[in-house]
Structures are given as structure tokens and as C-alpha cells.
Assembly symmetry: C2
Homo-oligomer: 406 residues x 2
Amino acid sequence: MRRGTNLLAVGGFNQAVILDLIRRAPQGLSRVEIAGATGLSAQTVSNVSRRLIDSGIVLEAGKLNVGPGKPRTLLQLEPTGLYSIGVHLDPTVITYVLLDLAGDVVTDHRAPLPANATPDSIIREMAERIAAILEDSVVPHDRVLGVGIAAPGPVDAALGILLDPPLLDGWTRVPLREALADATGFPVVLEKDVAAAAVAEIWTGGGGERDNFAFFYYGTGIGMGLVIDRDVLRGSSNNAGDMGHIRVAPTGPLCSCGRRGCIGELVVPHRLVAEAVETGIIAEGPPASSVDDDFSRFSDVAADGSAGAIAILDRTAAHIAAAVVVITNLLDVDRVIFGGPFWQRVSARVLPTIAELVNADPALISPHPIEVSDSAIGEDVAAIGAGCLVLDHFLSPRPSALLISE
Amino acid sequence: MRRGTNLLAVGGFNQAVILDLIRRAPQGLSRVEIAGATGLSAQTVSNVSRRLIDSGIVLEAGKLNVGPGKPRTLLQLEPTGLYSIGVHLDPTVITYVLLDLAGDVVTDHRAPLPANATPDSIIREMAERIAAILEDSVVPHDRVLGVGIAAPGPVDAALGILLDPPLLDGWTRVPLREALADATGFPVVLEKDVAAAAVAEIWTGGGGERDNFAFFYYGTGIGMGLVIDRDVLRGSSNNAGDMGHIRVAPTGPLCSCGRRGCIGELVVPHRLVAEAVETGIIAEGPPASSVDDDFSRFSDVAADGSAGAIAILDRTAAHIAAAVVVITNLLDVDRVIFGGPFWQRVSARVLPTIAELVNADPALISPHPIEVSDSAIGEDVAAIGAGCLVLDHFLSPRPSALLISE
């Protein structure tokens, strides 16, 4: 079985510290600066730098003149030195991204999740797609650190298993981490979708400037990624972020929990489509039409000014706003970022309404306004987060408790 | 104006590190062990230890024989070397505790909050009561590090101001921290009540063994203290923990937010008393009766087996359980601890019902059971937490962002 490079794993703690410093200094750092910042000896810095340069992960990029002495050579990250793959398994679509060492997207790919396909066949398909992406991008396997996969919860983090995601029929206790590692030959990191999305926001989105924020994930299902003190809140079993049973109305469709008014039943894309079909706002889709296609038709009609479609979006905004108030009251976050595979199609109408309703809600406890904004990352957010997790796992001198199978 | 000792403030970081180590080793530590654990030189450890011993904060407690060399003298905390005062301002009762350096309660006192008293007169009363407690306990002022005060939110943490706590009439923008510092001559730390209760649980309660838990605070109002990775989650403006507007029923009394079914309207003590009076389960109290007294009469009737009172408690348990499910789904905590001034009187009936309902709820996402338990600390929990905050603030080498006026 082929495996991703373990170059970095054997490099040890000093190497991780040095690489992390270089990653965070896009303008480059001299060996002297690295020694000063880390407290490591000049000899250690020199040895590790040499190893990183020889491995193609770091490059020498110009000289810095400081005073009368010898100019100092600057070390910079070589983004193409290593890669990671992020996969996002949403109940209706699979998203793939190839990230370079800087966390930038080299290429991405989206494919609908085939209805009635077994987990086995989908995992096989994932492995084939990953192989094809690497081939198309001419990235050798030994330059790939691993695969991160974002999936709907609940998960068993210790075992790397999807337990029984409500919207993924037939995925009960699927050992996704192990199976994908076997199928691809790469180490695999498994993370809940909303947590992965929050990781992406911290890495590359607007969230990075904030210590605390919440990420409202709008996919086939919904969830809330929570970032506290620049760290994703994962909870005691890595299942934090479920908001589906927050009740936002006294009535509504019957939820799986036996109650009515749960937000997870009220605002998800397939519910909006169903409402629009029932009230004649859009026609029923063809027999094999996906929620993705139907939701695009619905949002097109809303964008064209259909009063009925806009009324549905306004009710959706009110429901989301009510849940945001509950969550911000509990956690005292002052920013909520919205994104996920289905978000962009409705944001133009929904986001400003949410902003207004949240801040005018007499139930809001916060003494400061709650900012809401779109994610700058777009639909691939959870896949990018999954890829960033792999980079973090291998490159951070203090990797968080992650879920690796190798 | 008299001030609390600033001995520790001038001791600097090394002293804080050493004292923190000694605090956490009740069996005592030798100077050699301290040097080994901190990386500080033997000389520095010796100097700082001498200063701590001379100040009466640390004492030499026996010898430890290790091998053939000179026996090592063990250093231990001297709990009576320093003290802190914790005050909990609940809308119906004020609780005071005097804590020693180990966080143990030396003495406590509870007094009803006089109706219609102005904030000024109450702050004056607090200062008088604190002076009386110190006098009765024969604790000199210069041995008191400061006063911690736990109060209902929302607060302005930066300014030390209570903004407009819903249940404290007439307390709008009261500069409690400054006013109490002026009235007492001590530095004052202000914390929201639910956060203070969570601090107490971490210090001295069962919560200390857990990284993550939630603390359901049952006072005149309710709230949820949240502990993530052994740290109290305070939020961006120190106002985290408000759960009053979580909707747990499709109907109910009209809430201040204009909705019905908010838990903050359904389960608070005065609501249970009102229900019991309306349905003839208990008689109306005398004109000046406090919620505290009325609630005791109600809980006595329930304990005596009144079916009507028990039905009210069972509905209350169901409402609390529904909110606990929302919160544990969002944060993935696996333990919820219940306490606060009104809790103990109803726990015997309510707690087991909550345990059963939470874990049987089809809305519960967690793959592991949620443990619920009573706080081991009792009614003084928020006051004790406020006192512990003062100890933390002065003694921890990494004091959290706190709110001191001195």
C-alpha cells in the first residue's frame, strides 16, 4: 500500500517549529531570525533548514542586508513542495480540493452523490477521483501529506466512523477514515463538516481576524461551526455544532424528534423547494432531479422577483435569525459567518434580512451588535477546511487531537 | 483609601509560577523539585521561596529524605496567609463568602436583597457586611487580596458596569466594580453569575475532573455556565451563558421578547410559585413575602407529596431537559451540573427526571449519554466562584482577562 510522505513526521518537533515560523512569514525569514525566535541553536536551525530545502518544502529567496555583515539569506515556504487533499461528503454532493502547502486551492471538483449508491462504491469513487485529480495536476503521490474528509455528524472520532448521519441513507457506522485510507493509500483525517468549515474560515477566510465567531453552514443539512479563542470548538466527542433542533416557531413540519418548529426541518434547501413546489412557485423537477438542481431553479425564480419565492426566503431568514439569537446569547460571539454549498444562491436576499432581524430582536442579550457576513471562501468551504486540517496536522508544532489513520 | 496587599503583584512572573506550583501540590514540594519543574535557577527559587515564607503565604512543612544527600524541606501553601471575599448579587438574595488561599470557605453569610433599595444603598450595605465578616473572622485587611462579585448579566466587562439585568429593577448601567472598590477599599473583580458558578465548579466541585461541562444555574433567573477545555467560556464581551430565550414549548406565558415558550419564563422560581398559587396548591404569601420564602413553601408541599406540585416540577424538568438537549447538541458537552441558590430545594424530584428525559430525547445528537448531577458546592456556588476568581487573578501565572479596579 502506498503511503504519503512521512518526511515531516520524522523531522520532529524542532522541524515543525521552524516550518511553522516560515509558513507564517510570507515575506521570508533569515536563519538568524529563526534562531532568535525559537531559541534553537544556529547549528540546529542550519541543519533543519538544509533538510527542508533539500526536500523542496522551503526555498532560499533573496538576501537581506542588515548592517555591515554578510547579507542574510531569506527562507520562504515553497507552496508546491507538499500538498493535501480535502474532500467534503455532503448528502447530495461531493467536493474535492487539492491544496498546496500555503493552503491555496490548486484545483477543485464537484460531483453529485449518486442516489442509492452504497458507501463502498462511493468510497471507491472518491479514491478514483483523488487519483485523477493528482494525475491531472501532475502532483506525485509522495508530495501529498494526506486526505482530509469532512462529513456530516454524528461521528465516532476515536474510531473514524460515521455513526448515522440523518440525511445519508444507508451510512450507518461506516468506517470512513479507515476505508478511505485503504482505498487511497494516504493517511486520512476525519472531521465533522461544520468544524471543517470553521477551520477553513480561520485559515483563509475573514474569520482569521476574529478570536470568536460562529459559522452557519448551509448544506443539504445545516449546522453551526463554533470558534472560540481562535480554536474550533469540537466538544467532548467531536460532535459539536448541531443546531437542527433549536425551535424557532410554534408550528411547522413534524421533526424526527416529534416536535414542530425545529429549524433543521424549516430552513433546509429541500424544504424550501417543497414549499415552492406546493404553492406553485416552481414546477416539480423531473423524477431524477437533485435537490441541488431544484434549489437552483427556486433561487433563480426568487432572484427574478417572484413574490412567493421571496416570501419563502424571508420566512427562512426569520427562522435562521431566531436561532442565531439563541446561539449568540449562549456563546456571546459577535460575528456569524454564513456559507456552505447552498448558501450563495440565496444570500443576497437572506443575509441582510438576518442582519436586521437579529439586531432588532428583543431577545438579543448581547450589548454589542452582531455582525453577519458571507464567507469569502464559497461553496468549497468544508472541503478546503478538510485539506487545511491535514496541513495543520502535519505542519503544526502542536497538532490538535486529530483523527488519523495511517 | 485602604487597598488590599499588592505583595503578589510586585512578585512578578517567577513568583506567580512558583506559588501556582505549590498551590497545586497539597503534599508539598521541595525547592529542588520546583527548580526542576520550572526551569528556574536554584538561586531564584530560593529567593522567591524566602519571600513567600516571610510573607506568611508559604510554610516549611517537614523534610523529605531522598537518597544519601541532605533531606529536602517541603514547601506548602499556608492557607491562612491570604484571603479573598466572594459576593453574589442575586436579584433576591446577596451571598457573601470569605475564602482562604486554598479556596476553602472560612465563613459565609446570606441576606435578602431589600425590595426597593437603591443600588447605592445596597453597595454600602455590601461594604458594611464585608467589614463585619472580616472583623468577626479576625482577618486583617492587608491579608485580603480583593473582592470578587458575581452579578446577573448583561455586563460591560471593560467598564465594570451592570447594564440592565432584567430581574434587577433600577439597576441600569450601575458601575458596580468601581463603586464597590470605593466602598470597600479593596480591588474588585466583576464576573457574570453563571461564569462565576462555573469557576467554582472547576476549582472545588466535581467539574474539576472534566475538561468540558455545562453548569445550569438556577437562581431568581436561570443561565448556563460553559466550561470548554477547563476554561470558562466568557464570550467576546463576557456575557456568554444566557439561555433564557431557548424555546422549549409551543405555548406558555408571554416573554419579554414577544414570543411564548421561552424557558426563562417557564422554569424560574417565581413562575412555579405563581402556578402553584393560581391552582390552589399553596396559599398566596403575605404581602412582603419573598420569592425565596414562597419557593420554600412550594418545595415543601412538593416534598410532602402534593400531586399538583409534583406535576409542576415534572413540567419544569421537561422544559429544562429540552433546553439541555439544545445546548449539548450545540456544544457536545457530556456533563451538566445543576446548582444555584434555588436548586437544592427541588433537585430530588427534578434532577432524575431531567436525566431520563434528556437521554431518551430523540433530538439528542450525542453518541454518548449525558450525565447530569447536582453541584457538590451548594447554594453559595456563585459567591465561591467570585472569591476563587480573585485568587486566580492574583495567583495564576496566566491570569485570564479579568476585570479589576484598584
